[in-house]
């Protein structure tokens, strides 16, 4: 393994960096590659095959990164583009796929909030009730209801970090 990384590390790093245009990210990819190589090295010990295999895996990883980046930026555009400029139809299509995939996770995330936060988040965010009404329903004060909503929203965003991350590196 060490032998491979000494022997091929430099050229793989340059190869991936050229594809990604980013030396830092290329280092990530190549580091990952050694972990993968450790688990799934090819049977054969012939040096030429090892090198070809490493290149193949590295290239695939780099392409994955590029396509994740595209999806990520489409996503960000879809969610921020309509603030100033108009929304982007292509990005909206990507977004709809995400919504479908993420919807179940978000629902799960809400289901797993602590009960007070869950009630408050639901009544404010989903039902759009005002804090007075929410407080009356929950038997608390508007301030406490508001605090529950904000704690719940923060927790939800954090708990679902992998949902956002699955769309690509930030």
């Amino acid at each position: 393994m060490n032998e491979w990384s000494e022997r091929y590390g430099g050229e793989l790093q340059r190869h991936v960096a050229a594809m990604l245009g980013d030396a830092e990210e290329a280092r990530d990819v190549v580091q990952d590659l050694w972990v993968t190589a450790l688990r799934a090295r090819p049977e054969t010990g012939r040096a030429a095959n090892v090198r070809a295999w490493l290149y193949r895996v590295a290239t695939r990883r780099a392409l994955d990164r590029i396509s994740m980046r595209r999806r990520r930026s489409a996503l960000l555009a879809a969610h921020s583009g309509d603030l100033g400029s108009g929304s982007v139809p292509a990005a909206d299509a990507a977004l709809d796929r995400l919504s479908e995939a993420a919807a179940a996770r978000v629902r799960q995330g809400v289901a797993e909030l602590p009960p007070r936060q869950r009630d408050a988040v639901w009544l404010r965010w989903i039902e759009e009730l005002d804090y007075e009404t929410i407080a009356r329903r929950m038997g608390s004060s508007p301030e406490a209801a508001r605090a529950n909503v904000y704690q719940g929203m923060k927790k939800l965003r954090r708990d679902l970090a992998d949902v956002w991350r699955e769309e690509g590196p930030i």
Partner: protein, 240 residues
């Protein structure tokens, strides 16, 4: 006009999503979002989150409600399709909610004051001897086929009617399964509404009732079946 804010925090982004910002602040944040990619990226996760609100609103959710009854604190819960639980046995709201969470692990269980008001109203009328029939839908979809068949059969029993466990077994086409029928009724998640108390033993005694036979006696008393109560020492629950 004060200087421009640039230190928007997470709370501001949440407030923005929820519509809690006043108009001036919302305008300023919107402008900063357009100008600042970093802020935009931080806001993106909340926008993604907010994007799921509509789906959440339209999808499955379990609502529940507590009210006072002659049996003590009573709690009811419903899916969008119908009632899924009725209980007066739980020690606390938390215990009741925890039971629902176990039964619906991926569906939010949310407290509610309005949606289940008809259930409270009708149950209160029933206890007051002013309502012989419930006009409420039930949702038995999480239950097994056998239990659902048993509860469906029990649901067909009218106010004041009483049949035997054996008769229910016969009606669902499992004439030898009267003991299993008893077990299925004992685990009825929506008692009273699904009237398992109207099922008794072949010898005319009442059989069992989850949580205590005095509840079954009280329900049969409400329905005018004092003939079934005999001179049993166990008293009914006072309704007034």
């Amino acid at each position: 006009m004060t200087g421009r804010r640039t230190n928007w925090g997470e709370e501001d982004l949440i407030a923005w999503i929820l519509g809690d910002l006043d108009a001036g602040a919302a305008q300023a944040l919107t402008e900063d979002l357009a100008a600042c990619p970093d802020l935009r990226e931080r806001a993106a996760e909340y926008r993604l989150l907010n994007r799921s609100a509509k789906g959440l609103r339209e999808g499955p959710v379990i609502r529940w409600r507590r009210f006072d009854s002659p049996f003590g604190a009573m709690r009811v819960a419903a899916s969008p399709t119908g009632l899924v639980a009725l209980s007066w046995q739980d020690e606390s709201d938390d215990a009741f909610v925890a039971g629902l969470e176990r039964r619906y692990p991926s569906t939010p269980v949310v407290g509610d004051a309005d949606r289940l008001a008809p259930a409270e109203e009708q149950l209160t009328e029933y206890f007051g001897r002013r309502r012989p029939r419930f006009d409420l839908l039930v949702d038995l979809t999480t239950l097994g086929d056998f239990q659902r068949a048993v509860l469906d059969a029990a649901s067909g029993l009218d106010f004041g009617e009483a049949v035997t466990y054996t008769e229910i077994a016969r009606r669902i086409g499992r004439p030898k399964a009267s003991r299993a029928v008893g077990n299925a009724l004992g685990r009825n998640p929506i008692p009273i509404i699904v009237p398992c108390h109207r099922v008794i033993r072949t010898d005319g005694t009442l059989g069992g009732y989850t949580g205590g036979l005095r509840y079954k006696r009280t329900l049969l008393d409400i329905e005018g079946r004092t003939d079934l109560l005999g001179s049993h020492a166990q008293t009914e629950i006072p309704l007034a």
